[in-house]
């Protein structure tokens, strides 16, 4: 058994000594139903005349549909409706279209070409599940198998099969310009040239299925008021509702979605496939329709955490400092986009991990292969690359003959350091976490490491956006024409050097925060504007002066007229004590004690 241990000695001035929630017993609002077995699964909802929907799926990784003959299936006992691609009003979608990201690339029922094993092409609605299964077996499909590609690096080669017609280069397209997400910070090539040694590593992660206890599914039930109720396993209720309304070209006001709190999700129940299918079945038959994956479908077509491949190159100086780091990352999106495009952006924002490295570059690809589409799962976009980074840190420690914890503390970021995505680090606590971990593991670290603090040594020179080399390699379509190397700065072509403190040729301090309440411990922009151009100084003063704690301004309190006209939730004065001052409380250092 473990217990939470609050290490009060760290950052003592940032909060009151008492935590109000963490480590305290709290009754979850849904726990009574769980422990008494009353929390309903979606499959617990029973309806008279319930019909069952099952899909005809591709047995091939990649194939063209030559013909489909469902005449025998349609005549079978109990079969009420055969649902084909033409029955889907808008049979092309991409999940993140709801936030305007990406192109429509995935049909609900595939009309002409399948791009992964298990891709649905037709659905049967029957009076019993057994009848639906039997009818699915009776559908005759003639396939023309196509060459397939299952490896991300193979998929980027010029002659690789085109997996996804919307993205003929087999990659998601970023900003209508590049076939990958770029990150450029400083000059990695110069950093590598100055380094005493180069350490390279390659890290590969397999897909992981979320394996929920209740498989994905939904039951759609026509209501008398021309609405459809949908009892669903979704973990993103309104996302699924909006996706259903979009695919079926109907007003979302006609949809009444009912979710639940049991059955498991872990990211595997956001893809909103089963809801439009069941609602479509109900619309076409006028009867309640259940579309529920069996366990085999859950494993085969349920979108997993995607596979990843990361190649990391470090330049390390004689003191053990990482002076340059470059990444080439590949997210295997499977045949369609789902959420991997977003995972790439998320991962890029995380680079180069919690370390202060003056020169960083990355090319991260969202690659289409003939595998099951990948989706969300617990920190997707971050966990994979974090694994790669920490393995690489161990490799760097071995290469420099350093204690791995000392190596991490030496290279750790600190409050006030500029991160590669142009935000100042704040509330950093890696150093303290390393110190606590070393204690807990009885791992001896150097006296120098013992005296370090996240509050000291950051900022100053490290608060600057360095002069940065940019390039235009990897434009959309380039890789179809020739074999273009994938690592940053490896493809040749025109490069430019942006002056220190600038981004895209414009002087910047850092990317501005989107909301005032995101202002944490460091100023978002330097109040001292340049007298020369009336804009921010090209070389702004970032972070604290040397040897001074990071300035922590109070966040701007919203004005009375800005407050939302929503009654506040009842407070719990007995358990919640007001904080002495409003500061970010995202930094925790804790240890886990085994009892």
């Amino acid at each position: 058994m473990t217990s939470f241990e609050f290490r009060r000695e760290f950052f003592a001035d940032e909060r009151q000594g008492q935590l109000n929630e963490i480590g305290k017993p709290t009754i979850r609002q849904d726990i009574l139903g769980h422990v008494t077995g009353r929390s309903p699964y979606y499959d617990d909802h029973l309806f008279d005349g319930l019909l069952h929907m099952r899909c005809v799926r591709s047995p091939h990784h990649h194939a063209r549909i030559v013909s489909v003959d469902f005449s025998e299936a349609a005549r079978m006992e109990g079969v009420r409706r055969v649902v084909g691609p033409d029955d889907v009003p808008k049979n092309l979608n991409t999940l993140l279209s709801l936030i305007g990201f990406g192109k429509e690339d995935e049909p609900l029922l595939t009309p002409s070409k399948v791009a992964y094993r298990g891709e649905p092409i037709l659905a049967i609605v029957a009076e019993s599940e057994r009848q639906a299964r039997a009818a699915v077996q009776a559908v005759r499909v003639e396939w023309e198998e196509l060459p397939h590609v299952l490896d991300v690096e193979e998929a980027l080669k010029p002659n690789a099969p085109v997996v996804n017609a919307t993205y003929p280069g087999n990659t998601f397209e970023y900003y209508d310009k590049y076939d990958h997400q770029k990150l450029r910070f400083g000059d990695v090539e110069q950093g590598f040239a100055k380094a005493d040694q180069i350490v390279e590593g390659s890290y590969r992660m397999s897909p992981i299925e979320q394996a929920p206890m209740e498989t994905c599914g939904a039951i759609a039930v026509p209501e008398t008021n021309d609405r459809i109720a949908c009892y669903t396993s979704t973990q993103a209720l309104f996302f699924s509702l909006a996706t259903t309304a979009k695919l079926l070209d109907m007003s979302s006001a006609r949809l009444h979605f009912v979710g639940g709190t049991v059955g498991g999700g872990f990211g595997g129940k956001v893809d909103s496939i089963v809801e439009p299918m069941s609602v479509l079945g109900a619309l076409l038959t006028g009867a309640p329709v259940k579309f529920m994956w069996d366990r085999e479908e859950e494993m085969q077509v349920g979108a997993p955490r995607g596979a990843e491949l990361w190649k990391i190159k470090d330049g390390i100086d004689s003191r053990g400092r990482i002076v340059a780091r470059s990444f080439t990352g590949y997210f295997d999106s499977g045949a369609y986009t789902r959420l991997s495009s977003y995972a790439v952006v998320k991962a890029t924002g995380h680079l180069p991990g919690p370390y202060s490295i003056p020169n960083v570059a990355s090319n991260v690809f969202c690659v289409f292969t003939n595998r099951t589409p990948a989706t969300a799962m617990r920190g997707f976009g971050i966990t994979g690359v974090d694994f790669a980074i920490e393995c690489q840190m161990d490799r760097g420690a071995r290469a420099t003959n350093m204690n791995p914890i000392d190596f991490r503390i030496l290279n750790a970021y600190r409050d006030g350091d500029m991160k590669a995505h142009r935000r100042l680090a704040k509330n950093t606590a890696l150093i303290e976490c390393c110190q606590v971990v070393a204690d807990k593991a009885r791992w001896i670290i150097g006296s120098q490491s013992r005296t370090q603090s996240s509050l000291r040594g950051g900022g100053g020179e490290k608060a600057h956006v360095p002069a940065t080399v940019i390039d235009e390699e990897g434009r959309i379509g380039d890789r179809r024409r020739s074999d273009v190397p994938t690592a940053p700065h490896s493809a040749g072509g025109r490069k430019r050097r942006l002056p220190e403190g600038s981004l895209r040729g414009e002087d910047v301090v850092a990317a501005p925060p989107q909301n005032p309440d995101m202002l944490g411990d460091a100023p978002a922009s330097d109040p001292a504007a340049s007298p020369e151009n009336g804009r921010t100084l090209a070389r702004p003063r970032f972070g604290p002066p040397a040897e001074v704690q990071v300035d922590r301004p109070r966040p701007r309190r919203p004005q009375a007229r800005e407050r939302p006209a929503i009654p506040a939730a009842p407070a719990r004065p007995s358990t919640r004590r007001p904080l002495r001052r409003r500061t970010s409380v995202s930094r925790h250092v804790s240890g886990f004690r085994r009892r």
Binding site: R130, R133, Q137, D294
Partner: protein, 267 residues
């Protein structure tokens, strides 16, 4: 539509069976097939004869009903030596339903209890009164169409029966393979060992090479060495989702060694 017929007498149940019927013991295999669209049958046959759940002694042999559940078997004092293989089957819900008779027909990765029956050299009896050895049943089980009613075997000598289930997920993973051994000793030496593996072929199989190599040998590191070298004779594990054939071949002698040397696993 699936039809379910329940009979009081097992002979009636057997007489009613035809090509479209499937006998249902505990249902842990049949219902899965049914739910996942197996079309080999249209009718389920059940039997409520209480004798199917009995445990008795007959001239020194133990006779257990084929309908005895794994949970009942694990709780039965007279069957304490079978508690480990019975508890190795599924979780509590599965053990509450899964039967001894059904396990004889369970393909890998299931069927670990049948491995114990093979090590014990059990004999099975059918509703029609026919008797046959466990090996003959296992060899013909894919096409066997009679209802097994009883299984009988001699109780093992004290300290002479061992079972080990090998899974990659602890404590309740699916079996990669399992090993069961009957190890009678005389004067500190093995006499007439029977060693059975599950997961090393399409059915539980005897490691006849190891059995022969153990004859007259003591159960110590040197004594079992020839048996380990011969462990894979006659076994042909397959590649599947749980492990490759190579992996099973590699680990089988290792687990056999651990089982033979670790006395804590002996009943």
């Amino acid at each position: 539509m699936i039809k379910v017929d329940t009979y009081r007498a097992v002979a009636e149940a057997e007489a009613s069976m035809d090509g479209q019927s499937r006998y249902m013991g505990g249902g842990t295999l049949v219902m899965r097939d049914l739910n996942y669209g197996s079309y080999g049958f249209e009718r389920l046959v059940r039997c409520t004869d209480p004798r199917l759940n009995s445990v008795r002694r007959d001239r020194g042999r133990i006779v257990i009903g084929a309908g005895l559940t794994m949970a009942e078997c694990a709780e039965n004092r007279d069957l304490a030596f079978l508690a480990a293989p019975a508890m190795g089957v599924g979780g509590p819900a599965v053990r509450n339903m899964a039967t001894v008779g059904g396990n004889l027909f369970a393909p890998p990765p299931f069927g670990d209890f049948a491995t114990a029956m093979l090590a014990l050299d059990a004999r099975v009896r059918t509703a029609g009164g026919e008797e046959l050895g466990i090996e003959a049943l296992l060899a013909s089980r894919r096409t066997f169409r009679r209802i097994v009613t009883e299984i009988e075997f001699l109780p093992p000598p004290r300290g002479g029966f061992r079972f080990r289930k090998v899974s990659r997920v602890k404590p309740k993973g699916v079996s990669v393979l399992s090993i069961c051994a009957l190890l009678p000793q005389s004067g500190g030496r093995i006499r007439g060992a029977r060693i059975a593996f599950n997961g090393m072929g399409a059915t539980p199989l005897r490691a006849t090479g190891s059995e022969a190599a153990l004859e007259g040998r003591p159960l110590d590191r040197n004594g079992i060495a020839p048996a380990l070298d011969a462990a894979l004779q006659g076994l042909s594990p397959a590649d599947d989702e749980l492990a490759t054939s190579w992996y099973r071949r590699t680990v089988a002698p290792v687990y056999l060694r651990r089982m033979l040397l670790e006395r804590s696993h002996a009943y």
